[in-house]
């Protein structure tokens, strides 16, 4: 650090931001890798159906394809908002 450095404005270190963004996007892309192409469409159509009964948004639905020895499991989870389920 030089004695003249106080004259310059230090930019925020950006490597940490890059790492955090990458961690999230890489994890997300890995979870959908090799999954069938129809998953995004299936997800949005399911959302339409669910919305008829409960108000949820897109982020409340997650769909994953898990591969176990020899078979695939389509896993669907819907987070219902508090107090509005079962209506």
């Amino acid at each position: 650090m030089g004695i003249l450095d106080f004259l310059k404005r230090k930019p925020e270190p950006s490597a940490g931001i890059a790492k955090e963004r990458l961690r999230i996007i890489v994890a997300q892309e890995r979870s959908t890798r090799g999954a069938p192409d129809y998953l995004p469409l299936l997800r949005s159509e399911l959302l339409e159906v669910i919305k008829k009964y409960v108000h949820v948004d897109l982020d409340a639905i997650s769909i994953n394809v898990e591969r176990d020895s020899g078979h695939e499991v389509l896993e669907l989870s819907v987070a219902l908002p508090d107090g509005k389920s079962g209506s």
Partner: protein, 271 residues
Amino acid sequence: MTAEIIVVTSGKGGVGKTTTSASFATGLAMSGKKVAVIDFDVGLRNLDLIMGCERRVVYDFVNVVHGEATLKQALIKDKRYENLYVLAASQTRDKDALTQEGVEKVLQGLSEDGFDYVVCDSPAGIEKGAHLAMYFADRAVVVVNPEVSSVRDSDRILGLLASKTRRAERGDGAIVQHLLLTRYNPARVAAGEMLSVSDVEEILGIKVVGVIPESENVLAASNAGVPVILDADSQVGQAYSDTVARVLGEERPLRFLDAPKKGFFQRVFGG
């Protein structure tokens, strides 16, 4: 004895695939192996320039695939190492000129000619050329820069290597994957401006096989048509030599990861 096929790939363009392919092939040849390096970037030939043999290209990879020339006619012998050969990409055809059967035939031919290693310089992207460059590989060197788009693309490529190669399809055992971090700038890492080696390793879940520092020597070497590994006095040249040795099974510690110490004037006046 069959040749070992090594693909140099990355997804993203401009990260140092061709520089790495040229230095890697040269490094393997320096260790006495018989090596061919193939440019898979049909339509955008560049490996010949980096290897310094651009004026000696008569026949290319596509000519061999289509039976218009023999392998012997198309292989360009390196000026420096007699056990090193270059197979140039076609400059005039489009990327559909390569076929899986054609590529297999060429690789088979190189194996029969007694080559120990075939280095496949992949084009950028994940289209046909990149797919064919990786399809027959036994080993992959994934070149990555400490930069968000390159890291993301290399994760995609690692996924493809694990699923879309002949080894994966046949269940012949996984392709050996090496991650090579290039254009690394230790001073910027120390300042928190660039992803570090451990950041990249952590995100991708794979250890690096080498770290190549960012350096002006790379441009100087490509200007001269000399693979940068031959610039043995430079950090880049030494880092590539270390990397080749590691891929061949030698244990060598990573070097050139720390920022150079600042001199007195830099410390006082900054910069």
